[in-house]
């Protein structure tokens, strides 16, 4: 039977890693990810989890050790943030190209310089092309649920999976969540056998060298397989819903019925944005909220369906692509590109919440109203507005 407990997002993730009976954890400390690894280290010290904990000397080695362990058939875990993910970056392409189901959690953090340990999505946005399944949690319950699902998904499709949780906003905040019983989780994520492991009885060569005559075919194979993961992700989330009563989908909709305007967010901002939508609805505005949960593979069809009937889409990015604008907004616009102008919403871009700056309910209301003004005034809509900057 499940139980309700107050848990930090970090501890919720650690519980998920414990309940799926992870074999090898390799991690290097970085704020705001540290509570996850500290809790896992405690669990191992207390005998609650039987795993090898490799206290590596860098994030680069953390992912490298996970790759080695996963190639040897182990269920593995690592977590990092900000600069740590950047140092790990080179290695992140390896498990996705070698089809290893590594699971990682990113406690999202801004990037230097100037140094900031606080949350934004700059680190996540630099990881867009690594070939991992990537999803964003909005609260601690989701941090737990999505981590459990990440193992099932990764092992079903043989691709690595990363769960993004907002640093501090989720990693360090205690929320009331429901934890299932250990057996319920281990039933949901059964033991798996990778079809090709490093085993002297059945030798394989992994990570070979590909000249031009074969490299493009390896990439085509990877892309075709990766595109097909979306159906499997939905299937695992549906099964999770049937088992645990909490349903997830690639694009979450909130009060989108009859909405004319929608705000799109990722991560923990969704909860505050909901309050803003509630207030605007009370004021008579036809506003709804979209929360992009599945980031890779990008859920094109579900996203297009979600915005089919709206006139204005307001996208809040928590990162800047310098010289380009908001990275999520760029992708959203490209997903809508081939649709005729009359059949797609105007898209207005905001960038906010950088380096841990919070956005209050009124901030989201401002953005929605300001976007409507900009469209009605015929302002150029391709330029993002940086929200809440002291000028």
């Amino acid at each position: 039977m499940g139980r309700r407990v107050g848990l930090e997002g970090s501890f919720a993730v650690a519980e998920a890693v414990r309940m799926v009976n992870t074999d090898v954890i390799a991690a290097y400390p970085i704020t705001p990810q540290t509570h996850i690894v500290e809790r896992l280290a405690e669990m191992i010290a207390d005998g609650e989890l039987d795993a090898e904990f490799i206290c590596v000397e860098s994030e680069h080695s953390a992912m490298s050790a996970c790759v080695g362990a996963s190639a040897a058939g182990a269920r593995v875990f690592t977590c990092s943030a900000g600069q740590g993910l950047e140092l790990m970056h080179e290695v992140l392409y390896i498990p996705s190209s070698m089809r290893l189901p590594v699971v990682a959690v990113a406690a999202n953090r801004a990037l230097s310089a100037p140094l900031s340990v606080w949350c934004d999505h700059s680190d996540a946005m630099s990881l867009r092309d690594i070939g991992w399944i990537q999803m964003f949690a909005e609260n601690n319950q989701e941090a737990f649920d999505l981590t459990v699902c990440a193992y099932r998904i990764a092992e079903d499709v043989l691709f690595p999976a990363m769960v993004h949780i907002d640093g501090f906003f989720l990693s360090h905040v205690i929320e009331d969540i429901e934890l299932p019983a250990d057996e319920e989780v281990s039933d949901f994520v059964p033991e798996y056998e990778h079809p090709f492991v490093l085993d002297p009885d059945k030798p394989v060569s992994m990570g070979c060298y590909a000249p031009p005559f074969i490299y493009p075919e390896t990439k085509k194979a990877q892309e075709v397989a990766f595109e097909h993961t979306e159906a499997k992700i939905r299937a695992v989330w549906d099964d999770f819903g049937r088992t645990f009563g909490r349903y997830y989908s690639p694009v979450e909709q909130y009060r989108m019925e009859d909405a004319r305007v929608a705000l799109l967010t990722m991560g923990s901002f969704g909860e505050t944005a909901m309050l803003a939508v509630d207030e605007l609805r009370e004021e008579g505005e036809d506003v709804g909220l979209l929360r992009l949960r599945l980031w890779r593979p990008f859920p094109f069809s579900e996203f297009r369906a979600a915005v089919r009937d709206i006139e204005l889409l307001v996208v809040l990015d928590r990162a800047i692509s310098f010289g380009m604008g908001g990275p999520v907004c760029s992708e959203v616009r490209s997903a809508l590109y081939h649709i005729h102008d009359d059949d797609k919403p105007d898209v207005i871009s905001f960038i906010g919440g950088l380096g841990g700056r919070s956005i209050p309910v009124d901030g989201f209301k401002y953005m929605i109203k300001r976007a409507q003004e900009r469209v009605s005034e015929g302002e150029a809509v391709d330029k993002p507005e940086l929200f809440g900057i002291r000028e």
């Binding site: 009976n21 074999d23 090898v24 390799a26 039987d50 795993a51 090898e52 490799i54 206290c55 590596v56 000397e57 860098s58 680069h60 080695s61 953390a62 490298s64 050790a65 996970c66 790759v67 080695g68 362990a69 996963s70 190639a71 040897a72 058939g73 182990a74 593995v76 080179e90 290695v91 390896i94 070698m98 033991e191 490093l198 085993d199 002297p200 059945k202 030798p203 394989v204 060569s205 992994m206 990570g207 070979c208 060298y209 590909a210 000249p211 074969i214 390896t218």
Partner: protein
């Protein structure tokens, strides 16, 4: 075999690193890998850094490896092998693998760049944490795979494409070779050794010792490279011998901190004997060679004293 002659078989005929790879003619590293693999046997998993050996042995869709082998990137072999070893440890303990899997040994292969330069951190971490693995550095004294660029293991005075010999800078490499075995010793791991394919039985014995000792083991193998050293391909084995006989590359072991010289030479041959066959040293003045001679003698004397001689 000649009639009436008995030769005990000390070297298996089985090739684990198989022929058909794409190494240059006279490659000392391919020879070293072949011998090392014979000593490793088949109950091993090898993690290989990017470099010559990876490139020549794994061109898709072919492979030269008859044991499980993984290459990922350049600088992380220490961490990859640590992950593999930890996976086996955890999975055996948790009953996910049979007890028989305890026989499996874990090995890291890298060149001098992948060891002494870019891979030093990952290797140091793995040695410090005490994983049970053998690491073999195949040292051909430069980045040969990318075209003979200098590494921290390139010897003083050697020409390379990034330490070229010019009118203003007539020396080539201006720094002395980083002493990787001593860095391994400083981690207080149970086994450190140097080896050379010119001494095949010595090399293979060391591999077996390193493999069977519990904890990290490090073997540094000098691998003559005709392409990068500008030496005749048929002199590879001879050059390895001369490196040892001149004291340029002494063969020794450090077992639990105790030094032992495998070949203590009453008199070292002059370094000229070793250097004169190599185009990479051709530009050196008599003074520069004398300077190298003095340094080799000093280092050799220091090593002898560590070995209690």
């Amino acid at each position: 075999m000649e009639e009436g002659l008995f030769i005990p078989q000390r070297v298996t005929k089985e090739e684990i690193f198989t022929p058909g790879h794409r190494a240059c003619i006279g490659c000392g590293e391919a020879l070293a890998v072949r011998l090392v693999c014979k000593a490793l046997g088949k109950k091993v998993i090898i993690a290989n850094a990017t470099g010559c050996i990876e490139i020549i042995s794994s061109l898709l869709p072919r492979t030269s490896w008859r044991v499980p082998w993984i290459h990922t990137i350049f600088e992380n072999v220490g961490a990859v092998v640590a992950g593999i070893e930890s996976a086996y440890k955890a999975r055996i303990r948790k009953g996910k693998l049979p007890e028989a899997a305890k026989e499996v040994k874990f090995v890291g292969f890298a060149g001098d760049g992948g060891t002494a330069d870019i891979g030093l951190q990952a290797l140091s971490g793995a040695m410090e944490r005490g994983h049970d693995f053998l690491y073999v550095c195949f040292d051909n004294e430069a980045y040969m795979n990318t075209g003979i660029q200098r590494s921290s293991a390139t010897p003083y005075g050697a020409w390379t494409t990034t330490a070229p010999v010019g009118a203003k800078q007539p020396l080539g490499q201006l720094t002395w070779k980083k002493n990787m075995p001593e860095i391994a010793v400083a981690h207080r791991i149970p086994y450190v050794a140097t080896g050379c394919p010119s001494y095949p039985l010595d090399l293979m014995d060391k591999v077996r010792r390193g493999l069977n000792i519990e904890g990290p083991a490090y073997i540094h193998v000098l691998s003559p490279c005709p392409t990068g050293w500008r030496s005749p391909p048929n002199m590879t084995v001879e050059l390895g011998r001369l490196a040892v006989e001149t004291g340029v590359f002494p063969l020794y072991e450090v077992v639990n901190g105790v030094y032992r010289l495998n070949f203590d030479l009453p008199e070292l041959k002059p370094v000229r004997e070793y250097m004169k066959h190599q185009g990479r040293f051709r530009h050196l003045s008599e003074d520069a060679i004398d300077q190298i001679q003095a340094r080799v003698e000093e280092d050799y004397a220091r090593l002898r004293s560590k070995a209690g001689l």
